[in-house]
Symmetry: C2
Subunit: 402 residues, 2 copies
């Protein structure tokens, strides 16, 4: 165990928001208040942008009622940023951290954010600056390595599941082809969660396309025709990140916008859905074809929260603070115990093991045709998403025709 | 009062589904079971399509548990249709109704469905066929005349309000321009409900565009610039049905699909949002511009239900049955009592007074600039939408810069 370090704490949020990202933030604040080594608790506004600009607020001054309300409110309460620090930024960050006597630094975010923490942690070591650096995992994409699943995924997956439940019922009432485009650049977990919407044997989504398998337009059209012939309708869940066999994102052909991490904009546009709908209209005689792109709704929708997700997100935050009192750096991963009963535990892992590279859907979660998930995925995702509403359906005893 | 009529009952659902359309259906079934004049209770599948095809199910055979579960499930449990009956269809419908000894006909739907009931009712009178015809109001658009508000609106409006609450928080975390396209062909009520999302003075939606006012692209760009200059961000709620000063829908320029009532397809495509986003990108130097089209999610989302809406929808269904025992035809309208306390009552109105023509947002609900709603609208909509989640925000005491 490292020797004790005394000083102020700085916490910030980065990347795309989630419905439970403030659970982690408030979990860390409440834990930090218990330890005398941690003096002041500062929140930097809009991630490292707020550190560079010394834009801090005093989180020790927040009332218990406010902390509770913020924890239950979606989207980064401290503001967020999509910015990868340059070497000059890192130098400037240390200057600021020293000036404010920061010895505990927590950054809540996905793999890009873990990379940022990793860079700062390595720079701190090089400069022999005693700084405890912890990444607090958050991503609705569920694509962080080392984690059984990530805080934020369960709630976003619940939003997607409910949306598909509703959309399947809508499509059953007014049949046709319905395409739902769901977030997920490289990992299909969120799109896969749509499978939890199935209650009755003919329920959609009938087809699920993930970034983990090459997308073929010909196969897609053939799949849709087949389902439509069987059920007279077809509901499709498709990841925004689906790519052709050469690895080119289908949506990328329609967008040139790139963020500072080099990611092409996929959300906040209906282009992919419209393209897929146009293809079905052109290549089949199905008349009613619609596409919806769930966009930003799925990552910040209030009141559609997975109970397990909210609790775990808070625990990842508090565990990060506990671990930072013992270790120089790391990220807190959620692990699942083997066995039928859903049980998780929390463990510190090296930053390098979660940074940069993303996790993908394992092969055993995807069917051989590459157009659906397996029972193994359902078993995996069900407890993470939690309780779902009862979907009623008439027994529907037919009246004999006269 | 008309003399008593004894025979079977037929009920069906039509038009776009709603989150509480089955509350009305089950409300009518439960009420019908109480009256000995009503013998069998048949449900036609997919509206008048099911009547023409004699595709009926026995609703008296459904268990109380199933009725309860179906009532709480969104989207037309009997299936729906978008079909305006031709004179030949009407002749065929009477033939079927006579054959099955139907004396009570209920059709759940919007103004197009009311028109269908009206046509059938008039034909029945002409043919001296004793048929009680009632329309049971349903539309998330809230555009039925005679009604203070319609069943389905409150729940869809709650979905929109929550979506905007989340989206405003998302936009506050990662600032930019965000455009949300909301359902509403000719009436802006659903888009207007986005205003209920505002909790703090700087909360979005900052601009609201409705079909009731001519949409000018120049004014739109100027409005967005102004808000963005003030807050460094801008959230916009816009109706899918916004039209230019000549009455041409902005979205219609991008879609040629028309249903059998002559309506152009506006939902199920991201074209309008993408067009508005492209305009802001082209005419301003704002870099981050995103658009989401809520599409079908807003009309069938499970578990986001307004309590008042669910209760009233059931009551409209049961009242229609009670009224049909007394009157030849009509539609049950929701009226609001004057005064501060929210109180409604239910009244039979002639079919012709709700059929065909739609209701629009009254002038006192729209601000003079035509880019927001008024306090009168908020007061009107709040009790219809009902309870909303608490949105927490840090007091955010700034740390003095060193």
């Amino acid at each position: 165990m490292k020797q004790k370090v005394s000083g102020n704490m700085l916490i910030a949020q980065s990347g795309g928001p989630s419905p439970v990202i403030n659970q982690s933030l408030v979990g860390a604040i409440i834990e930090a208040k218990k330890h005398k080594e941690i003096k002041n608790i500062y929140g930097a506004l809009h991630g490292i942008k707020g550190i560079l600009g010394e834009d801090f607020i005093d989180l020790k001054k927040e009332s218990v009622a406010t902390l509770k309300a913020v924890a239950n409110t979606p989207s980064s309460a401290l503001g967020s940023v999509r910015k990868k620090p340059s070497p000059e930024d890192c130098a400037r960050i240390f200057e600021v951290l020293k000036k404010y006597e920061i010895r505990y630094f927590f950054y809540i975010g996905g793999n890009d954010s873990a990379e940022t923490v990793h860079i700062i942690s390595e720079e701190a070591k090089k400069s022999s600056f005693e700084l405890r650096c912890f990444h607090i995992a958050k991503t609705i994409d569920n694509d962080l390595r080392e984690n059984d699943h990530t805080p934020g995924f369960g709630s976003a997956a619940k939003f997607v599941t409910l949306a598909l439940m509703g959309d399947n019922l809508d499509n059953r009432a007014l049949p046709g082809v319905k395409i739902d485009v769901i977030m997920g650049r490289h990992a299909g977990f969120l799109t896969a969660a749509s499978a939890l919407a199935r209650v009755y044997p003919d329920d959609g989504p009938h087809l699920i396309y993930l970034p983990e398998r090459p997308f073929s337009m010909e196969q897609f059209v053939a799949d849709v025709k087949k389902v439509n012939d069987k059920y007279g309708r077809c509901v499709i869940a498709v990841s925004e990140g689906i790519s052709d066999k050469d690895g080119t994102a289908i949506a990328a052909k329609f967008s040139k916008e790139v963020d500072s991490h080099g990611n092409v904009q996929l959300s906040g546009t209906g282009a992919l859905g419209d393209l897929l709908a146009a293809e079905i209209k052109a290549k089949t005689d199905i008349k009613r074809v619609r596409a919806d792109t769930f966009g930003y709704l799925q990552r910040c929708y209030p009141s559609v929260i997975s109970t397990n997700d909210a609790r775990e997100a808070a625990f990842v935050g508090s565990t990060a603070v506990k671990q930072a009192l013992k270790l120089q750096s790391g990220s807190v991963a959620i692990r699942r115990k083997p066995g039928k009963k859903y049980q998780v535990y929390f463990e510190a892992v090296p930053l390098s093991s979660v940074a940069k590279e993303t996790k993908h859907m394992p092969d055993e979660f995807i069917n051989s045709e590459g157009n659906d998930v397996t029972k193994a995925f359902i078993d995996y995702a069900k407890p993470i998403v939690g309780e779902l509403p009862v979907i009623g359906r008439f027994a529907g005893k037919k009246i004999a025709k006269k």
